[in-house]
Symmetry: C2
Subunit: 435 residues, 2 copies
Amino acid sequence: VTGLSGATGDTKLDDERYARAALTYLAEPGDPWLASLVRECGAVRALAAIRAGRFPGGKRGDAAERAMARWRRRLAGVPEHDQVASQLARGIRLITESDPEWPDGLAELGDNQPYAIWLRGAVTDLGAVCRRSVAVVGSRAATAYGTYVAAELAASIAALGWTVISGGAYGVDGAAHRGALARGGPTVAVMACGIDRAYPMGHTELLDGVAASGAVISEWPPGHGVARLRFLIRNRVIAAIARGTVVVEAGSRSGALNTARHARDLDRLVMAVPGPVTSDLSDGCHSIIRDWQATLVTSADEVIEALDRVGGTAGGNVGGTVGGTGGGAAGGGSSRARPGDQADLPFGVPAAQSPRDSPSREDHARDALDPEAATVLDALPMRGGGLPTSDIVARAGLETRTVLARLAVLTVCGLAERTERGWRARPPGQRRASG
Amino acid sequence: VTGLSGATGDTKLDDERYARAALTYLAEPGDPWLASLVRECGAVRALAAIRAGRFPGGKRGDAAERAMARWRRRLAGVPEHDQVASQLARGIRLITESDPEWPDGLAELGDNQPYAIWLRGAVTDLGAVCRRSVAVVGSRAATAYGTYVAAELAASIAALGWTVISGGAYGVDGAAHRGALARGGPTVAVMACGIDRAYPMGHTELLDGVAASGAVISEWPPGHGVARLRFLIRNRVIAAIARGTVVVEAGSRSGALNTARHARDLDRLVMAVPGPVTSDLSDGCHSIIRDWQATLVTSADEVIEALDRVGGTAGGNVGGTVGGTGGGAAGGGSSRARPGDQADLPFGVPAAQSPRDSPSREDHARDALDPEAATVLDALPMRGGGLPTSDIVARAGLETRTVLARLAVLTVCGLAERTERGWRARPPGQRRASG
């Protein structure tokens, strides 16, 4: 079986690995100030700087200092070196960019690359498993049609030796994982909370099943809960590690389109399964087929054929990248609430109301936003070359620092984009404007 | 109301018009030998030549002489001048290419242009009615979904002031006509038999309703019945007179794809409505969206928007091109069987079994073929630059003259195409190869 090679480095917790683990506790993914600090001096020195409360080389601008204060507020929640080591001893794994199994696609996220990936499950080489993988995503409030199609599609994708990646949610995600498991294929659930948390609660057994033969992974450390915005931030990882993304059933404002757009931004193949035009829940699929020219697919054969056509990482036969190593369900990790958990997400933005654990609610990207982020989003132009920050500040009626923080969040979530002339909105369901 | 202008020429039956009428009795549409004779010397002299049994300028090649013999076998079925005049007096109209209302799109058929169009109905300017029109076609064996979508779509197209064109068949066609009628919009049924024939029988009232506010038209003269091949030959007229074609529900081998391909060959906009991937009857729609890049549409607004985007004949406000002139259901015309009716279709090809008048049978283009035409089709290469006639003859194991006659038929039907190197098949559902 290929892909069973490396991936033993994670048992040895050197300073670099520990620092990476600590960063996942200190900041939300995509924090631009932390990314630039790590790029500048590495994870170990970045962690030391945060502990010392001083940037290397002395004081910086206001925004950087506010970021520093934000990270320091979370310091108390960072476990000690031996605590992390004992998590790893209990079957949780930590993967960093220096590991051979770090999925190739993540590098393409640039400064938005995860600080590290936490993993529980049987997979011993995450990179190999992702090399021939397809993300199957869609609405939480899927219809019987969507659920059926997702399960069938995923089962056939697994039977062809490809990995199914999804987000572990109700509806399409859950059906996709189940379909893959039914054929004994490896499947990867990318979580918006710690890998030891079962979210949604109703998927506790399913996620254990995913771990038993595949992997449950997250950028957030054990113990962290979900927050609406984390789903959007997480979506870029699903898009990045998979060779292509298939949207099975999604309304016109579904969060699944957010994943599809991340995939498109990363030049991955975006595919969509059509459905009855009489169902609102296929609107999103139809609109990206029409407007983004997403590839229409109706079967796993078509999905794999389309992926083979665009080429990409060769992969070869990596059908069985799964070790028999111990099922590894449960996993350790603290489950007590930690400082920073849901408190000041991300880059200091207070979390919007925690999402309800309900399969019947449609998942609109916008619902993830706190009121100030929503106000900033409303202030952004939908068309044209963008407006400068000063105009956004004036239109939003908020402080400049607040607007800047929210713009950073909206950008990581794929809801806003920087242009030559300033900022512009990217509503779900709309293609990326050129330029 | 615009479009009520011209169209009075058809009450006066001059020699040219009579000759055109006669040609519709003498040959099937798309007969290449007749097209070249008419191009050479006009309809009046062509008719005279057929009556005399001699081509102008003397004897021609074998194929031409066989064509002459074929036409002459139908001479007995051609009504006299005063008989045709009395048909016209009874409310049937005859439209020829010299009439201002001759639909613009027909000229693009070149030598396959109809010899004339027979019409019954309230429409006084067929060209104006077609200028803002959409063909809505699909499977006869439509599901409840297909029927519902076709009716809704057609109703909304009519409400936007556009004409719905279809083929009068069971399933999608009928639903499209009904939807348009429900909104009082003009709708045009393009028949594969005489306009006085109700085919299918179950649509007798529907077709009368279409005529009452729109038009029932045909290339075949009154009294002529249907034959499988005639549906395929008819399809090119639907595609040519409409600004664009929407396929609502069609299996992968449906005759509706034949109409769509004719539309594509004529550079018309081809659109398709997606459906559940669990239904075979949406396969054809999905395949042309994927492979031909047919535009995915889910509503009348999207259809009209797409048509407006590609432009084309301006049209302006031609919403009400329908006269209130007398409902004109019934119509005259002989309904007795005539020589040539189903006897030797077309260009001497014996008719395949007459189609059953059943709504439950899928309409596969190939079923229209007699055994020899099917043999020739099987002998054609599916890919590559085509094979010379001699190779086709060898592969088919038939006489050269038979092969040539069947190739001509298959070409008019859109099932074969001539290439620089010879002949090639064009199976339904496959895009036209370049070159």
